[in-house]
Symmetry: C2
Subunit: 222 residues, 2 copies
């Protein structure tokens, strides 16, 4: 590339990374707010999360357009092209993480009675671990750090263990309190959505690893 093209490419990539950081930040906040809405039964906050997801979707679309423009105008090669493609893929996964938070916010509105629900203390703890995974994987992305990316992948086991425990807990609760089954079913969905956030933070971690090293970490069953 010519020198001015290299400079323009670097500026474009910096912008692309900034948009992904912004998008990831919004997804993190969405998860946090969705869990707060769930625990407190705050339907206004739920609504905010559902509406806020449009901003995340809009950022994905902006990232897609910028990535296409970079490819078309700068014709990046090898590592640079891999980085742009990784950004495109990562934006898609972060959008998915935003969707899961939106699902949680929607489930929250379907729950009536909130007292005596033990899962309501376990779920936020589970969400904290998954939220940390999202945060760490974005840090790994920003720092192009494959080691941190591998740590994120490892943390997913904790999220899965939480999921199994909450599933058993909710089913027991359902058996003992048939009147709350419909609400409790929503908690199962919430647990499943958090579990999926962990899976997708893992997917992003694999892409970060790929963008930084050119290969994927050893394949794992998901």
């Amino acid at each position: 590339m010519q020198e001015h093209t290299v400079k323009a490419f670097d500026e474009d990539i910096t912008k692309l990374r900034g948009l992904i950081a912004e998008m990831g930040g919004l997804a993190e906040v969405a998860l946090h707010q969705a869990m707060e809405a769930l625990v407190k039964g705050d339907d206004d906050l739920s609504e905010l999360v559902v509406k806020g997801d449009k901003k995340i979707d809009a950022l994905e679309s902006e990232i897609d357009k910028l990535a296409v423009r970079i490819i078309a105008l700068r014709a990046p090669m090898a590592d640079d092209l891999r980085e742009v493609i990784a950004a495109l893929k990562i934006a898609g996964v972060v959008e998915r993480i935003g969707d899961y938070s939106k699902n949680i916010a929607k489930a929250s509105r379907e729950i009536g009675q909130r007292k005596h629900f033990e899962p309501l203390t376990l779920l936020p703890a589970m969400a904290d671990v998954a939220g940390d995974m999202v945060h760490e994987v974005l840090t790994a992305y920003a720092a192009r750090d494959p080691i941190l990316a591998r740590e994120v992948i490892k943390t997913d086991e904790k999220v899965d263990a939480f999921y199994d425990s909450i599933f058993r807990n909710v089913v027991t609760h359902m058996v003992e309190n048939p009147a709350t089954i419909s609400s409790a079913a929503q908690l199962l969905f919430v647990a499943r959505n958090i579990e999926r956030i962990g899976d997708h933070a893992t997917n992003v971690a694999e892409m970060v690893h790929f963008a930084a090293t050119g290969n994927y970490p050893a394949d794992e069953e998901d």
Copy 2:
């Protein structure tokens, strides 16, 4: 582009479209087999679906690599670039559809007793509608047909109506049969996964519409 480059690009695009058709076909079969395993309680078939998902993932990776190679070697412009990027995005969504079928196959193995479960007749009907959406959207992709893509988007309402009906049905079943709650919870997950397949067929339809016309159909709440 030079004439030989145009020819090479056309060959590449044909290959890319062929890989997506193959991937979509596998995802359709996976959903069909997962539902059959669910209804019959056939754990061997479930296992086949779970293992088969690796082939879908491998195809996505092949599509990604080919798309990157096309961009790097052929430097496509405007519509052609949009088509390659759409292929990359569509492959990501089809992989997601494969994941949902894998989830259904996994849920199937967690279900004990299958008798007297009314949802076991409703769920396959729901899956047929969602499976048709996947089939139609791939046809729309192959034919670059934005009208068919819009029809797919419209069909998603049927899938959502099925979901609401099955949710109420399963909850009623749980209340009346507390001993089967854990199995019934898996049916809720199955319903949710089918509902998500409908959502993602809708997403692909939007991308097909975009690739064919340069704009997205009017935004809808998902």
